[in-house]
Amino acid sequence: MAIPVRKFDAVIVGAGGAGMRASLQLAEAGFKVAVLSKVFPTRSHTVAAQGGIGAALGNMGEDSWMWHMYDTVKGSDWLGDQDAIEFLCREAPKVVIELEHFGMPFDRNADGTVYQRPFGGHMQNFGAGPAVQRSCCAADRTGHAMLHTLYQRNVRANTHFFVEWMALDLVRDASGQVLGVTAMEMETGEVSILHARAVLFATGGAGRIYSASTNAFINTGDGLGMAARAGIPLEDMEFWQFHPTGVAGAGVLITEGVRGEGGYLLNKNGERFMERYAPNAKDLASRDVVSRAMATEIKEGRGCGPDGDYLLLKLDHLGVDLIEDKLPGIREIAKKFANVDPVKDPIPVVPTCHYQMGGIPTNYRGEVVAPQSGDPEVVVAGFYAAGECACASVHGANRLGTNSLTDLLVFGKASGDTMIRFLKENPGHKDLPKDAADKTSARLARLDSQQGGESVHEVGAEMRRIMQAHCGVFRFPDMLIEGVKKIKETAERVKRTQIGDKSKVFNTARVEALELDNLIEVAVATLVSAEARNESRGAHDRADHHQRDDVNWLKHTLWYKESSRLDYKPVHMKPLTVQSVEPKVRTY
């Protein structure tokens, strides 16, 4: 079967914040760039970010990118790479100002500067405190405002979007160089090879591996699945952020900005329990700390409601004016999904899977790196990753609130710039291998001809149940061992999924089956990596090893799909220009 080939200078998979920040660099530099997205760009999950973008602008009082860096290293529980973190925090003010120039409708101070609110884990004076106001926001719709602004700027730059195209597999040649992707146009079901000189993955996270998730349906880890199938390792997949405040039962996110503006958590006794767990930062401690505190309250019988399975987020004391001005979207969500009006009543919340700290390993320039003949970080030629799907690693074992949007802007732009340099130095397309689309054709043919297989819906639900039960906020050694066994069995079942719908036209059953192929790689990587890490660090909390173990575990995990093998590589403790932040006990 002859598959059509289309040629571009660069292909970007994903049109969220990172993909569209990168495409802007490339389009404005005059390159022919194709941006693929499963959904219309403004529907990408960046749209759901609420609280803000972390950048030390210092608009509200003294701040410094070095304080931001310290907070991010500490927030990462020292698993973040300090060169990448320095780069993130130093570049943050520049990319936020740029975004303002693009037209971003930031909230404002009386003097006309961008308004910034406090957020968890962001402190003054190298962690000494008090809290600093660093989160640049547009009410509680910052992601929406940012994503639309980036799309609008790309309209101006005439970026070529392939809307409702799903990338299926990575194309690499014998040397390992990345030469493009195979992709399916959803409206017609037709498959093409997009042949490129450089490929960027900006495919977002895979939060849909859990039953309870703040993530959109589209967050299925497509980039991670494609990379894993093409032999690229996945880094630090055991680290998943459980956001303290997902609406109980619904999973919908309630921004940390609520606590930034003065809201706080209560248990069933009406006690502000975070004072016990984090005497200084209280409700604005780092997310892993708050989520663990909440899970402990629930476990010890101080949860609210008939089943004692949630806690309450109180904000009525902020007053209706502040809530309408700074948190209008939250009020809307609480009314719709929790049946409470937060100007009067507290919102029932529970820690909910929110963010994937791990991903495709990259350096701080956005180049994908993998071990090769003893060197842990050899650049994979032609391959780049940015945003949640990438692991630079700036978030380490726990991401600070607001740093995800900062990550999208900083590394979206940096990867675009790196790609431009590569494109200038490497003119001309390398030949596609003869078997470029074989893997994809085989997957599609298998799915179309499968008989007696299981439903995608059922196998997917089983995967999500396993992840939820075996790899949540608290992790137990026996549950992890059993989880690994169960998820590997589920992975076998994924190979035999069957769809009833065989239509060529906008076949969403086929899309969901192909998405499950990606999700399951992420789920296996997560459980296998978590089972092996015998310590507690950031979001990974093991009941049998309650302490962080820097002697044995100050290192990044690498998971390979092939035989589910693990490898490790050192953390970059040396920043680019400043002094290293040495590991110490992490308290808030």
């Binding site: 403004t42 999950h45 120039h101 037209g103 909230d107 404002r108 101070n109 500067t113 906008f506």
Partner: protein, 231 residues
């Protein structure tokens, strides 16, 4: 719970049909989107768009018991049975509940929906007072779901010539931005018997907007600006 859903797959149907479903809901099924996902788990051939499931991405707009809205924030308990679901009216149907939104986005793009400011970029942010920023409230929140434009008879008749409420709301979003310098070009771009003036203020757009926005008011303000520069 009973549903009647518009079905059409050009791959096998010669014409559209309505299909009845009777499905048992679970206590966790609160919104219409939950019900659609439950239906899809038994009939995977039902095609629909969806993503954020919280009313911010704008994917899952459809015609629900005769009125446009987002499935993910429409409560099942508010719906009369059988719940009749159709694709957004006035746009070509690709399949089932999925419409071709090309024309809708073409109109959005036609208003040059991006900030125009040709001054050299300052080192810091462009200053904007809280009052100037407030002018953008009720405008920038649009999620491009197309509920409004596909509820508008003027858009049904002239989707190629009338910008429609969603596009015009965004046209005004940039006219209202103190940082934008293209007021006169923006007004020129809308000075035409169709592009702006086909709005007859019947306010269907306001009635259906799932975000509570008011395109009619924004259109009125554009008309005011037109008058102001004419005198």
């Amino acid at each position: 719970m009973k549903f009647r859903i518009y079905r059409y797959d050009p791959d096998k149907d010669s014409q559209p049909r309505m299909q009845d479903y009777d499905v048992e809901m679970q206590p966790s099924d609160r919104m219409l989107l939950d019900a659609l996902i439950r239906i899809k788990s038994v009939d995977d051939s039902l095609s629909l768009r969806r993503s954020c499931r919280e009313g911010v991405c704008g994917s899952d707009a459809k015609n629900i018991n005769g009125k446009n809205g987002l499935a993910c924030i429409t409560r099942l308990s508010d719906l009369k049975e059988p719940v009749e679901l159709r694709p957004l009216p006035g746009l070509p149907v690709i399949r089932d509940l999925i419409v071709d939104m090309t024309q809708f986005f073409k109109q959005y793009h036609s208003v040059k929906p991006y900030l125009v400011n040709n001054q050299p970029s300052p080192e810091k942010e462009r200053r904007q007072s809280p009052a100037e920023r407030e002018e953008l409230d009720g405008l920038y929140e649009c999620i491009l779901c197309a509920c409004c434009s596909t509820a508008c008879p003027s858009f049904w008749w002239n989707p190629d010539k009338f910008v429609g409420p969603a596009g015009l709301l965004q046209a005004y979003r940039f006219l209202a931005d103190s940082r934008d310098e293209a007021t006169s070009e923006r007004l020129d771009n809308l000075e035409d018997p169709y592009r702006l003036f086909r709005c007859h203020s019947i306010m269907n757009c306001v009635d259906v907007c799932p975000k509570g926005l008011n395109p009619t008011r924004a259109i009125g303000k554009i008309k005011d600006l037109m008058v102001k520069r004419a005198v």
